[in-house]
């Protein structure tokens, strides 16, 4: 069967996913060295979701997600340097050292964060889409959240209005089977999360999130619907996080076998296999990509190390847009 994606796409997927993987591995190490503090949630294992979104959307489409945001932020075009500097809390970070791991943002790249209150961004995503509809653009808005977030009440209010008003939004539940230590089975009798869309007459679908191809196809359909005025879609993308919920979670609630089962389906390995089988790159060319990614991550660390801390007087900056707001200082 002819592969509908072709060499270019696979090489792009490979490089992007490898960058996310290496970036996150490095972040994990640096957390251990206490260079990165606070909460830090790694995306390792879920890279195919980012890759599939990348190839199926336009650069000017909008994206919003939760605190597990490093991978999606880099995919949207925020540089590894700015991301690493943010993890350090440096002034050169993508939110100037103010947000840290959970709060990456870039207006220019149309990356709307980076949100720490579980489920809060579900409503925000619909609002961002509302504004696109209001301004009569053809941009789609991708709104991602976890399986745990799918149990928040806001989802229902938002879904209802999104369908009622035919908002150009794609709701994506990244179902990685756990919300901290709680498995999906322990949070609901509705285990097919995409079926929640049925209650609101929204098209819903379940997608294999370990496959870039499947993610791409699902997102492409939904994004087209959004652009063409067909309203929202709800995609449940089944994926897996290899690491614990955050750096402090030993993930004792799941078995080694379960983890190994998913690692067998690792999207980076799969994509590389397709590339080699089709002779789309020589070993040397692959090594060049690997080297390039390694350099990019190393440079990001060096950049973060060498960057300055924010100035102490940044404490009262970015609280209001007013430059002369009268803060209470005693």
């Amino acid at each position: 069967m002819q592969n509908p994606f072709g060499k270019e796409t696979y090489l792009r997927w490979y490089e992007m996913m490898l960058l996310l993987r290496r970036f996150e591995e490095k972040a994990g190490q640096l957390y251990g060295m206490q260079k990165i503090r606070g909460f830090c949630h790694l995306y390792i294992g879920q890279e195919a979701v980012a890759a599939g979104i990348m190839s199926a959307t336009r650069e000017d489409d909008n994206l919003i997600t939760a605190y597990r945001d490093h991978g999606l932020a880099i995919m949207k075009g925020i540089s590894a340097k700015e991301c690493m500097a943010e993890l350090y809390g440096k002034a050169t970070g993508c939110t100037k050292g103010k947000g840290g791991s959970m709060h990456f943002f870039s207006k220019e790249k149309r990356f709307f964060g980076g949100h720490g209150i579980v489920g809060g961004q579900i409503g925000l995503g619909a609002g961002i889409a509302f504004a696109e509809q209001y301004n009569e653009t053809d941009r789609a808005t991708l709104c991602l959240f976890g399986d745990g977030a799918a149990r928040q009440g806001l989802l229902h209010e938002t879904f209802n209005m999104a369908v009622l008003w035919q908002l150009p939004v794609v709701f994506i539940c990244e179902n990685n089977y756990y919300a901290m230590g709680t498995s999906v089975e322990r949070t609901s009798k509705v285990l097919d999360i995409y079926r929640l869309a049925d209650a609101y007459d929204m098209p819903g679908d379940s997608i294999d999130g370990m496959s870039c191809e499947e993610v791409h196809k699902g997102i492409e359909r939904a994004v087209r619907r959004a652009r063409e005025g067909g309203g929202p879609t709800f995609l449940e993308i089944k994926t897996y996080r290899y690491r614990g919920h955050s750096m402090s979670d030993p993930a004792k609630y799941r078995t080694k076998e379960e983890l190994e089962e998913y690692k067998e389906k690792d999207p980076i390995t799969q994509v590389l296999k397709t590339i080699t089988e089709n002779n789309w790159a020589t070993e040397e060319e692959i090594n060049m990509i690997n080297e390039k990614v390694k350099m990019e991550v190393e440079e990001s660390v060096q950049f973060a190390e060498e960057s300055p801390w924010p100035d102490d007087n940044e404490l009262y900056k970015d609280i209001y847009m007013d430059q002369d707001y009268p803060f209470i200082v005693d």
């Binding site: 002034a91 709060h103 928040q152 005693d330």
Partner: protein, 314 residues
Amino acid sequence: MEEEMRRDRSVFLMGEEVAQYNGAYKVSQGMLDEFGPKRVIDTPIAELGFAAIGVGAAMNNTRPIIEFMTWNFAELAIDQIVNHAAKMVSMTGGHFNCPIVFRGPNGSAGQLAAQHSQAFENWYANVPGLKVISTINPYDAKGLLKAAIRDEDPVVFMESESHYGDQGEVPEEEYLIPIGKADVKREGTDVTIVSYNKMMKVAMGAADELQKENISAEVIDLRTIRPLDWQTIVASVQKTNRLVIVEEQWPFASISSEISYRVQKEAFDYLDAPIRRLCSADANMHYAPNLVAAYLPDVPRTVKMVKEVMYMVK
């Protein structure tokens, strides 16, 4: 919690990760094993929903303990706490009451940035119908939590994530600490420092520093925020004539604002200097370590403030 659950079958614990995971911060370690899934209940991430289930259950012969993983997330449930639990006795003309405890860690806990670092005592202390407790002292926590669980009204109980690991003498035996009583943690004669929750560490640290310079600070731990034990504060100020308040609240309409009003009214003639306070910065907490340090009250600034009310420095 365990002691109260042993003595009263109507008490149950409900919240995110409280059972199988033994608590996000291991507060409920072992409780599922002892009491089983009927009384130690894991919920989905649905704060509004499980707070409401708690309030409804409290109307109907049970005594729920509703745990919020942190008080930041209780913002989703504030409708149930303020519009429902706090109003129950009033709007039902006493037909129903709401013996419920809402508890969890409050305030900042390291570099967690703006959405995960808020202290909310004054929000709830503003609401008639609620009682508010905020403490990190292990001895007080046990006695007050037991009192809160037995209380017939809704109680907001605030702990601190960064002090769950603290150790202190906690007797095995049964004791209750009455809600609404502050505690003089250190006696002194020159200045009164009032604080609560984790800022007590700053207050006590400052008192130690001041002692080295022969300044004797009396330190009061409020323990209960509402009702406020202003009598204990006033009695102390009548002795020391000076008051400094240290708290993690934002300054606008904070607990220190309320204390300052009460003390100027009840002890105006005793004051030898303006009442001063050290709050968190009137800003959202940023992530970078230097900005966290600049945001929170600390010992050096407390010491300096005390010296200012003593007119030792300008």
